[in-house]
C-alpha cells in the first residue's frame, strides 16, 4: 500500500572489536519501528577484524548488515565514517537512522544529518511511529514530554542513550545479508584519530549498580558532597550526580545521571539535595524504590518518589548512616 519505505538503519558502534550494547538495543527497538512501517532493519558496522560480528547483529534482529572491514576503520575516523554513511544513505534511502548516544554517536550523527540535510533529535527516551507513519521522538523537557518529528525530510534521525531500550533476546537462528563496504580513497583526510586512550572509570559503574545514590545542587559544597558520598559507601552504592552538581565541580561528567548523561535502573535510588528535575529523573528507569532527601517540602522531587524525608541532609544523612550501620551490624550477628 503506497510507496515502499526505506529501511530502519542503526549505526552500530564497536570499541576494541566489541559491539556496544546500545547498538543491539537500537536494533531490537528498530524491529518494532520497522514492523509499523512495513520495512526492514539494517545495520552499518565499521571496524576492523569484524568478520564474526554481523552474526550478532542478525541475532539481535537485523536483516542486513553493511560491513566496513578495514584497518583504516578500526577506530572512529570522522571524515571516512561520515563519507561512507552519507554515500550509502543517498543510495539506499533509509527512512530512519538511529545512532547510539555515545561520544562517537554524538559527533557522527550531526555530521550525517547535516550532510543529508535532515533533522536529528537528541536525548530520546522513546521512539514510536505515529498515525501518519512518521517517527515521533520523545524527549523530556521543561516539565513535559515533547514529541519531535521531522515531517518532510528523510531520513528521520535520532540518538538514544544506552539503557533506554532493553537488550533484545538474541535469536541465533536469524541470518541476513552482509554487504561489504569499501573505504573511499579520494576523500580529504584532514582529520585523523591517532589513538584511543582508555582510562579506568573511578568508582562503581552506575549503569549496572543495584543501589544508586545521587546528589544535586542542594549538596551546597564539597564538604557536603562528601557526606553524600559517605552514604553511597555505607550502602555499597554507585554515586551519581545531577547536572548542577557536575557544573559545580563536585562530580565528574561521567557520573551525571539523566537525559544527557547515564541511564540507570537500580533497585534503590536515593536522591539527596536534588529537585527532581525531569532531565535528571528520566535517567532513572524501573527503580523498585525511590527515596528523596531534601529540605524544601515543596520540592517537585517529592512527587516522584516512594519515600520522602523533608530535612537538611547534612543533619539527616549522618543519622541515617548510623541506622543503616546498626541494621548491617544486626545482620552480621544473626
Amino acid at each position: 500500500m503506497g510507496k515502499s519505505r526505506g529501511p530502519v538503519w542503526v549505526i552500530a558502534e564497536q570499541i576494541d572489536c566489541r559491539i556496544l550494547e546500545v547498538s543491539f538495543q537500537l536494533i531490537g527497538h528498530g524491529r518494532k519501528l520497522a514492523a509499523a512501517l512495513d520495512t526492514t532493519v539494517e545495520a552499518i558496522l565499521l571496524g576492523h577484524k569484524m568478520e564474526e560480528h554481523p552474526r550478532q547483529l542478525f541475532a539481535a534482529g537485523g536483516d542486513r548488515v553493511y560491513l566496513g572491514n578495514d584497518p583504516e576503520l578500526a577506530v572512529y575516523q570522522p571524515e571516512i565514517y561520515t563519507e561512507i554513511i552519507e554515500k550509502l544513505a543517498k543510495e539506499r534511502q533509509p527512512e530512519i537512522i538511529l545512532v547510539g548516544s555515545t561520544a562517537m554517536g554524538r559527533e557522527l550523527a550531526p555530521l550525517i544529518a547535516a550532510r543529508l540535510d535532515t533533522g536529528l533529535t537528541a536525548h530520546c527516551i522513546d521512539l514510536v511511529i505515529d498515525g501518519n507513519k512518521v517517527l515521533e521522538s520523545r524527549i523530556p523537557a521543561y516539565g513535559g514530554l515533547l514529541s519531535i518529528i521531522c515531517p518532510d525530510r528523510r531520513p528521520q534521525m535520532a540518538t538514544i542513550a544506552t539503557g533506554v531500550f532493553p537488550n533484545p533476546e538474541p535469536d541465533e537462528s536469524r541470518t541476513g545479508e552482509i554487504i561489504p563496504i569499501e573505504v573511499p580513497k579520494k576523500i580529504p583526510r584532514r582529520i585523523q584519530t591517532l589513538e584511543v586512550v582508555r582510562e579506568e572509570p573511578e568508582g562503581m559503574d552506575l549503569e549496572s549498580a543495584t543501589i544508586v545514590v545521587a546528589g544535586g545542587a542542594g549538596a551546597g559544597d564539597p564538604a557536603g558532597w562528601r557526606k553524600i558520598a559517605g552514604l553511597a559507601e555505607v550502602l555499597n552504592a554507585a554515586l551519581g550526580a545531577t547536572r548542577p552538581a557536575v557544573d559545580e565541580g563536585w562530580a565528574a561528567l561521567e557520573t551525571m545521571i539523566g537525559q544527557s548523561g547515564k541511564m540507570v535502573s537500580p533497585e534503590l535510588y536515593i536522591g539527596v539535595g536534588l529537585s527532581g528535575e525531569l532531565q535528571h529523573m528520566v535517567g532513572i528507569s524501573g527503580a523498585k524504590i525511590m527515596v528523596a532527601i531534601n529540605n524544601d517540602a515543596k520540592s517537585p522531587v517529592f512527587e516522584q518518589v516512594d519515600y520522602g524525608i523533608v530535612d537538611d541532609y547534612r543533619e539527616f544523612v549522618p543519622v541515617f548512616i548510623e541506622k543503616i550501620k546498626e541494621y548491617q551490624g544486626k545482620l552480621k550477628t544473626c
Partner: protein
C-alpha cells in the same frame, strides 16, 4: 607594540593575523532554569522571566580563544544568533577580551532547531571573512543537543573535533587535541581551519574585569539580519528547521509518595525499616 608573529603561515597567504571565531549563545540562567515553561501555542520555549546569560560552556570556548591570543596574537570575532536582548552577552564577550561582535538577529531566525541555527551561524561566519579556527561550547545549557558545532563544520565544509579537553599542540596548520570519550579520550590530529567544541576540562574561564569592560566601549557589535546574510527565508528559523515539536504531554508520576514524619532519629529508623521490608538493602 608589534604583535608576535605566529610561527606558521596560513594556507597560501602571506602573514595575516590569525582569525578565531567563537560562537556563543544567550541562554536562560541555568540557576533559575526550573522556572522555564513551554508555550503550548507556538511549542517553543518561553524565555521571558528568567535572565539571559552567556551559555556556560561558551565561556570555555572564548577562554580557549583568549589563551591562544595571549600566546600567538589573534583577532577574535564573537558570533551569536539570538534576539536583540542577546546583545548583552556579546558585549560581555568583548569585555572579556574578544575584538569584534556580531549578533545575527532577525524575526526570520526565530524558532530555529539545531540545523537551522548551525546554517545561520555558518553563513554569518562566512560573511565575516576568512577564519582559521572556530570554537564553540560543546552544548548549550538549554537545548543541549551538541549538534550545532558539527553541523556548522559540515556547512563550512571543514573538519570538526567535539568535546576537546586539551589542546596538545599547535603546529602550523596541524593541531593535535584530546577529545573526551566515555572513559578516556581520542588523540586527534586535525588540519585547520576546523571547528572545535570544548568541554569544561579545557581551561578555567577568566572573570569579567573592570578594565575589560572599559575597553569594550570602543569595540563594535554589528547586527546582521536576513538581508545582510543574503539567505532565503526557507533556510532559516522555524521554516528552515527540519525538526519540530508536534505534541507536548505532561509526564505522569506513577509513585505514591509517603513523607516520613517525626523526629530525625525516628524518620531514619522508619526509612531503614521500609527499605529492608522492600528488600532493597
Amino acid at each position: 607594540m608589534f604583535p608576535k608573529i605566529p610561527q606558521f603561515p596560513i594556507r597560501h597567504r602571506v602573514y595575516t593575523m590569525f582569525k578565531i571565531v567563537v560562537c556563543v549563545k544567550a541562554v536562560p540562567d541555568p540557576k533559575e532554569a526550573c522556572n522555564i515553561k513551554i508555550d503550548p501555542a507556538t511549542k517553543t520555549l518561553m524565555r521571558c522571566d528568567v535572565p539571559m546569560v552567556l551559555n556556560p560552556l561558551d565561556k570555555y570556548a572564548l577562554e580557549a580563544a583568549l589563551q591562544f591570543k595571549a600566546e600567538f596574537d589573534a583577532h577574535i570575532s564573537v558570533l551569536s544568533m539570538g534576539p536583540p536582548e542577546a546583545g548583552n552577552i556579546v558585549k560581555e564577550c568583548l569585555a572579556l577580551g574578544a575584538d569584534r561582535g556580531f549578533l545575527l538577529s532577525d524575526r526570520a531566525f526565530a524558532g530555529a532547531d539545531a540545523f537551522a541555527t548551525a546554517y545561520t551561524l555558518a553563513k554569518g561566519i562566512e560573511k565575516n571573512g576568512p577564519y582559521d579556527v572556530v570554537f564553540c561550547g560543546m552544548a548549550s545549557s538549554d537545548g543541549s543537543t551538541e549538534w550545532v558545532g558539527p553541523e556548522i563544520a559540515t556547512f563550512l565544509k571543514i573538519p570538526v573535533v567535539t568535546r576537546i579537553k586539551e589542546i596538545v599542540e599547535y603546529n602550523g596548520q596541524w593541531w593535535t587535541v584530546k577529545a573526551e570519550l566515555e572513559n578516556g579520550y581520542r588523540l586527534v590530529r586535525v588540519q585547520i581551519p576546523a571547528v572545535f567544541t570544548v568541554t569544561r576540562e579545557l581551561n578555567t574561564p577568566r572573570r569579567l574585569s573592570f578594565s575589560g569592560i572599559i575597553k569594550a566601549r570602543k569595540k563594535e557589535i554589528t547586527r546582521w539580519g536576513i538581508q545582510e546574510l543574503g539567505v532565503p527565508e526557507e533556510s532559516v528559523g522555524l521554516k528552515g528547521s527540519p525538526s519540530m515539536v508536534s505534541t507536548i504531554a505532561s509526564m505522569d508520576s506513577r509513585r505514591k509518595v509517603e513523607i516520613l514524619e517525626g523526629k530525625r532519629e525516628e524518620k531514619a529508623e522508619q526509612l531503614v525499616q521500609r527499605l529492608v521490608n522492600a528488600g532493597v538493602i
